[in-house]
């Protein structure tokens, strides 16, 4: 194993982590502020990817598609909040899970109805095509570096938004005490819609970025959603900082596990067996990590101070 390979895998882990952060940030914000478990977050990710693919193929520009993904996911989020989610805040988590699960089915079949069952084509923009040389001689795709940069920018933007602006102050206040902020005259209903739309826009943005790398198809959001839940549980529910750290941790551990475990096992058993067992063990690794972290810190790494 060379240094170049290890560096490349580390970057891969970072890139996966950054993408998970975009998903987890919205999820944890929504849970932190409104106390809502939103299973349909993966559907918003899919909406972003489809919006980007459809607009990019109609206009020929990935960048317009990217803006469309932001707008469409935010709009879808706002509409869903107004029509459905708003009625769920006072219900218990089981009702929320049931209703948002129903939303997954509606979004999936609705998307299939609009776009059909075959995957859509979305290519990487010309500007970000190809690969650059890494120190050590390996090549690395420009687009993945761009995802890392975009994720870092979003993290910075969220930090400024929540720490330095009036909206951020209200979000933090909403996290600490929902009744009190309402009593102080803040329009809590609008705040909820804005937070939900913001979370949805981040998910849609992640979907569009990843859609160009993977395939844009119905049901693409659910596997990511599961990882995003792992991330926010590790990071501490409601904490953006925790989501960032949890996402990077999950991304790097998952990538390194998939890469290193079969190699380590190959020292003891025949290579074909090592591939099979190592592959299976690697897919469990992040869940094992989650269990260990929860055993030490039952409320995650950066649990919010209140209940």
């Amino acid at each position: 194993m060379t240094l170049a390979l290890a560096l490349e895998q580390l970057l891969n882990g970072l890139q996966l982590g950054v993408m998970l952060f975009l998903m987890a940030a919205g999820l944890t914000l929504i849970f932190g502020v409104m106390g809502l478990i939103n299973l349909a977050h993966g559907s918003l990710y899919m909406v972003g990817a489809f919006a980007c693919a459809a607009v990019a193929s109609a206009t020929g520009s990935f960048w317009i598609g990217l803006i469309a993904s932001f707008a469409c996911a935010a709009a879808a989020g706002a509409i869903v909040e107004l029509l459905v989610i708003r009625r769920l805040y006072d219900r218990d988590h089981l009702d929320q899970v049931l209703a948002t699960f129903a939303l997954i089915l509606i979004f999936s079949e609705g998307t299939r109805w609009l776009f059909g069952s075959f995957p859509l084509y979305l290519d990487i923009p010309r500007l970000l095509q190809g690969a650059v040389a890494l120190p050590g001689g390996a090549q690395y795709p420009v687009y993945r570096l761009a995802i890392i940069a975009a994720g870092a920018l979003v993290a910075l933007g969220l930090y400024l938004l929540i720490g330095k602006t009036r909206l951020g102050m209200r979000i933090r206040a909403g996290e600490s005490d929902r009744e009190m902020i309402g009593a102080l005259g803040v329009d809590i209903r609008t705040l909820y819609t804005v937070v939900f739309a913001l979370g949805a826009a981040l998910a849609g943005f992640a979907g569009a970025m990843v859609g160009a790398l993977q395939s844009v198809q119905v049901g693409m959001g659910e596997p990511v959603l599961i990882l995003a839940f792992v991330v926010i549980v590790i990071g501490g529910i409601g904490s953006i900082k925790g989501a960032l750290l949890g996402a990077l941790l999950v991304g790097v551990v998952d990538t390194m596990g998939r890469f290193l475990l079969p190699q380590v096992l190959a020292l003891f058993v025949p290579p074909s067996q090592a591939g099979l067992i190592g592959g299976a063990a690697a897919s469990m690794l992040i869940y094992v990590m989650m269990a260990l972290i929860l055993a030490v810190k039952p409320r995650g790494l950066f649990a919010a101070a209140h209940a």
Binding site: N12, P119, Q214, S215, G219, R258, P262
Partner: protein
């Protein structure tokens, strides 16, 4: 109680069917029409219905239901179709794990099962069954063809498949014929969408070729990421990874990739020209291998129905075995285990106008039989 009721319905249905004269042939099609794998099921359904329509036999009735790629749902639908709809033949399942949940119990209840795609080894050898037919291939076949093809120009291969039974069969099939060195054998997660870690391993492996079995969305993601990675080692795979249903979404990254198949759009025979034309006219898109296989399954059933009554199991089976059809694949006949003996080709992904499609380069196997037929005692 449940048993009593089902026994009563069975008795009742038997007495009713005993009275009826010249009953229609009922076919139950269970396939995947929703979820990520729906593209394959839709092609299966459309290919099959085209054959039934062309047969013009009013006595054939097809009931279609969606299994959502879930084994438990497929089993429920199959039970319903057998017991309350009283179908004579089941067909349409795309995935091997679903097929294993449905087909053995269907044939045990005296129904025919004609597979349009899935062909697990478990049903091809010792456990072959007179009522189970496979109109597609045996799971290992296309992988075996790639192994044979790789012998020619490749000394070291990196091979990769998802970690599930068909993935394992795939690499086993490849290695059965490949004589060179396998540098790494990597199993990825089923439904995995990010292949950065595997691509880094390919780069470091020193192999001169990569064999990847990644059907559906997995292949799309892998090929797009591979094209961006700057790795230049050539890719090959079985036809599933580069079938018509995914080529559009992979885009130009698929151009030039070699893959194996028992059919391609340009296969030169009269039946194929007619089929491609009819399929395009009917559905406005190019057929995939799944559509061809289902089309042949439909033709097989229609051809047997024209000559024998499905209630006369022995006669109907004998007619199916004759495979008296004009397959778009050209030659088509059944082996003793009721799986096809057919030619397998290497194809290359090319651009035909604006559309990506496969073109045949050369045959790899002629009259290829699967490795399990010898264990089938029928």
């Amino acid at each position: 109680m449940k048993k009593l009721i089902s026994a009563a319905t069975l008795a009742l249905s038997m007495s009713v069917s005993g009275l009826a004269v010249a009953e229609p042939l009922k076919i139950g099609m269970i396939t995947t029409l929703s979820g990520g794998g729906a593209g394959l099921g839709i092609d299966t359904r459309d290919g099959f219905m085209l054959a039934i329509k062309q047969a013009g036999n009013d006595e054939i009735e097809v009931i279609t239901e969606d299994d959502g790629q879930k084994p438990e749902l497929a089993v429920q639908i199959a039970d319903k179709m057998v017991q309350s709809d009283q179908v004579d033949i089941l067909t349409g399942i795309v995935w091997s794990n679903l097929l294993m949940a449905v087909a053995p119990s269907a044939v045990a209840q005296g129904k025919f099962y004609v597979s349009t795609n899935a062909a697990p080894a478990a049903l091809a050898g010792e456990n072959c069954n007179p009522l189970y037919f496979n109109a597609a291939y045996q799971n290992d076949n296309l992988h075996e063809a790639m192994g044979e093809y790789a012998n020619k120009d490749y000394k070291k291969m990196f091979i990769m498949a998802p970690n599930y039974p068909a993935g394992k069969d795939s690499l086993t099939g490849f290695k059965r014929f490949y004589k060179g060195e396998v540098t790494s054998e990597v199993y990825t997660q089923v439904g995995q969408t990010d292949y950065a870690a595997e691509i880094a391993q390919i780069r470091a492996s020193g192999a001169d070729g990569v064999f990847a079995f990644l059907p559906g969305g997995m292949g799309i993601a892998f090929m797009k990421q591979y094209a961006q990675s700057g790795v230049k080692i050539s890719i090959m795979g079985p036809g599933f990874s580069f079938s018509q249903d995914v080529l559009g979404a992979i885009g130009d990254a698929a151009l030039g990739v070699k893959n194996s198949g028992h059919w391609a759009k340009d296969l030169d025979n009269e039946a194929n020209k007619k089929f491609v034309e009819a399929f395009q006219a009917e559905y406005g898109r190019l057929p995939s291998i799944y559509a061809v296989q289902a089309y042949d399954a439909g033709q097989l059933i229609a051809s047997a129905a024209a000559k024998a009554d499905v209630k006369d199991t022995e006669a109907f089976r004998a007619e199916l075995l004759k495979a008296d059809i004009q397959s778009p694949r050209g030659k088509f006949k059944f082996n003793i285990n009721q799986h096809p003996i057919q030619d397998i080709y290497v194809r290359e992904v090319v651009k035909d106008g604006d559309v990506l499609t496969n073109k045949i380069i050369a045959p790899v196997f002629t009259d290829h039989e699967d490795a399990y037929a010898k264990d089938c005692k029928m």
